[in-house]
């Protein structure tokens, strides 16, 4: 789960990391009030996607009137498909230098990694590799103070900034651990007269740890449709084709989508019904899929924990509840395969055992209509 900039900064502020004074505003009036309080401000779109600067989502205002204008403009924008619902009005900083500092999970090293660069401010992907310092932390030791000293030295910060840098690094590390973060990032970590300030901040929290992060606010990037399917406990991503896909397992679902594409079909979604899902949620998910008006539906089940008869029953339930108004192709193998296939055949729904044949069939049907 990504937090909005202002939420991330709230967490950092509470952890003692210096952040600019700011106000979250949802109307131009609020932005004007913020500018009256804070003086000249930066008005920053609050979105969960990157690249808002290039999209015009950050504007500078000298006066309250200007702040209102900027907010008005930004609040009507969409940035990479995301509507802007709020802006952060922040005091302007006198920035001498921009650094980059982040803690992230490195899946390959299976450990946290501290990442820093003297070239902050721009997208870190655009910084040349040799200008980036990485320092892996040892689990469960975490950050040891000398590591922050090492980083500060490599960034050539000098003694007084080095101490502030070490302090901020320690605090970011505490946030990283205590908030189950996958990423906590300050870009830029700004050198201002008198010290360092996290001018921008990002905090991505592990979705799997949200149950023990109750104090954190919640955000979502999912579309309303995705939300509905995820509420059933299933993994779902919308694509832009016309063949709805349901399979059981992330890998096989991805592979099913790949196969359709390779056969000239256009998959409409990625729906992983997981292993061992019961008939109820499966039926609900299928119903949602049908409600999106696909040209055809492919259900691809390799039953391990998942029982084929349960899947068949889910399909029959859906047919009973709303009818099947589009071609439905089912591939069923594995646990209780015979029973499942028999149930479907009685209802006149063909069931394939070959994934290949099922894929070919559904692509053909989607084309026929």
């Amino acid at each position: 789960m990504k937090l909005y900039e202002h939420m991330a900064k709230d967490v950092l502020r509470a952890a003692g990391v210096p952040v600019p004074r700011g106000r979250v505003c949802t109307t131009p009036d609020e932005a004007a009030a913020a500018a009256r309080e804070l003086g000249p401000v930066a008005v920053k779109a609050q979105v969960l996607v990157g690249g808002r600067g290039k999209a015009g989502g950050i504007r500078l205002a000298q006066t309250a009137a200007e702040a209102a204008q900027c907010a008005e403009a930004i609040l009507t924008m969409q940035i990479r498909g995301q509507p802007v619902r709020s802006v952060l009005c922040e005091e302007r900083l006198v920035i001498e230098r921009e650094l980059y500092l982040a803690l992230a999970v490195d899946p390959s090293a299976r450990r946290p990694v501290l990442i820093a660069s003297a070239q902050g401010g721009m997208e870190i992907e655009e910084v040349p590799d040799r200008a980036i310092t990485r320092l892996h932390l040892e689990v469960p030791w975490g950050l040891v103070p000398f590591q922050a000293r090492q980083l500060a030295q490599r960034l050539e910060l000098g003694p007084s900034l080095a101490a502030a840098f070490a302090d901020i690094t320690a605090r970011l590390h505490r946030v990283f651990v205590e908030r189950d973060a996958e990423l906590v990032e300050c870009n830029p970590l700004a050198v201002v007269p008198g010290g360092l300030v996290a001018a921008d901040a990002r905090l991505n929290v592990d979705d799997d740890a949200l149950w023990r992060q109750r104090e954190l606010p919640r955000t979502s990037e999912a579309t309303p449709l995705e939300e509905r399917v995820r509420a059933l406990g299933l993994a779902f991503v919308q694509l832009d084709g016309d063949i709805a896909v349901m399979a059981n397992g992330a890998g096989i679902t991805m592979a099913t989508v790949d196969v359709l594409q390779r056969y000239g079909g256009r998959p409409m979604n990625f729906l992983d019904a997981g292993g061992g899902a019961a008939a109820g949620p499966t039926a609900d998910a299928l119903e949602i899929l049908l409600s999106t008006h696909p040209r055809a539906v492919l259900v691809n089940i390799f039953g391990g924990i998942t029982r084929c008869d349960e899947v068949a029953r889910a399909i029959l339930t859906v047919r009973e509840r709303r009818g099947l108004d589009v071609p439905l192709v089912v591939r069923l193998v594995g646990t209780n395969e015979e029973e499942g296939t028999a149930l479907l055949q009685q209802a006149g729904i063909p069931a394939f055992t070959s994934m290949r044949e099922a894929a070919e069939r559904v692509v053909a049907l989607a084309g026929e209509r």
């Binding site: 990504k2 990157g50 982040a102 992230a104 999970v105 490195d106 899946p107 390959s108 299976r110 450990r111 946290p112 990694v113 990442i115 997208e123 870190i124 992907e125 910084v127 980036i132 040892e138 689990v139 469960p140 651990v177 189950d180 996958e182 990423l183 990032e185 870009n187 990002r202 991505n204 592990d206 979705d207 799997d208 740890a209 023990r212 991503v237 694509l239 399979a247 059981n248 397992g249 992330a250 890998g251 096989i252 991805m254 592979a255 989508v257 790949d258 196969v259 594409q261 390779r262 998959p267 990625f270 292993g275 390799f302 039953g303 391990g304 924990i305 193998v333 646990t335 994934m355 290949r356």
Partner: protein
């Protein structure tokens, strides 16, 4: 014969009294796995399918000389249960649960490294050595058959699909290992390839990968020095980008992690990458054929 588990593996099932634990204990027993004990706090003294249940892993080890563990505990308890199994000296420790917090996974990995234990998972179906009748985890037993093919995979059902096709084609497996679908897992492709490299039964390898992370690229590096042929299938060719963890993730990966980069890395290392899942078995057969030819010539 095979890697990591075999007929000598004596298994403790942690979380044996839960719904999943009970069901899969039965399934594993039917396959022939030597399950010697179960663990479930508050259920010590009970039995599940004839398997005695204890309060702690240590008790199960003391009584039955268990060597390995499969964990069916839910995600919030994985860290504790895994550390318990590792501290009791068990290896491999197979973590089935998905949705394990990544910081917990890093703890488990570090603790295992300190204790020289192998962790498989989290978010795995487990592993199976068919000739040893050792199945630790949840895959359907009937898809396996003994043979010369080592399989290593990140995802579950896709593995079943490919393993079932191998079995159907008469291409049995030495060991099938599900490494787990999470970003941080206990055992990597490379570590598993190293084990397969030393296993006499294994003659050909099948690597089932997917987009994200850099495990396949690292595997490709290792494969360059490996004298056993490798066939791969990669899922996610058509997945949209941008469902990633963001910038720092991107700079950790630095251009790796895409379907194209993985495929290129593997092909550069001499791996045959199948376009479609059902092409894997024929490619394996070809590889075995070439091996036999070389043997005849040599």
């Amino acid at each position: 014969m095979g890697i990591l588990v075999d007929e000598r593996t004596k298994v403790v099932v942690s979380g044996i009294t839960g719904r999943q634990g009970r069901f899969h204990t039965q399934q594993m027993l039917e396959f022939g796995t030597r399950i010697v004990a179960g663990v479930s706090p508050g259920h010590g003294g009970e039995e599940v399918g004839g398997v005695p249940v204890y309060e702690t892993v240590q008790a199960a080890v003391d009584k039955h000389g268990a060597t390995s563990a499969v964990l069916f505990v839910p995600a919030p308890h994985v860290r504790d249960a895994a550390l318990e199994a590792i501290a009791a000296g068990l290896s491999p420790v197979v973590v089935i649960a998905e949705h394990v917090p990544v910081h917990d996974a890093m703890d488990v990995v570090a603790f295992a490294a300190e204790h020289r234990a192998v962790v498989i998972g989290p978010n795995t179906y487990g592993l199976c050595t068919p000739a040893g009748r050792a199945k630790l985890g949840i895959p359907p037993g009937r898809i396996f058959s003994p043979g010369p093919v080592g399989v290593l995979a990140r995802s579950g059902t896709l593995s079943y699909e490919i393993v079932a096709a191998l079995t159907e084609a008469g291409l049995g497996q030495s060991t099938v290992v599900g490494l787990g679908g999470d970003r941080v897992v206990g055992t990597s492709f490379v570590e598993t390839l190293k084990r397969f490299a030393k296993d006499e039964q294994t003659r050909v390898l099948v690597l089932v990968g997917e987009i994200g992370g850099s495990a396949e690229e690292e595997a490709a590096e290792f494969v360059k020095g490996l004298d056993k042929p490798v066939v791969a299938y990669l899922a996610g060719a058509s997945a949209p980008t941008g469902k990633r963890m963001g910038h720092a993730g991107a700079i950790i990966e630095r251009g790796r992690g895409t379907y194209a980069s993985k495929r290129r890395a593997l092909e550069d290392a001499g791996v045959h990458v199948a376009d479609l899942p059902w092409e894997v078995a024929p490619l394996v057969r070809e590889a075995l054929g070439r091996l036999e030819e070389t043997a005849r010539e040599g």
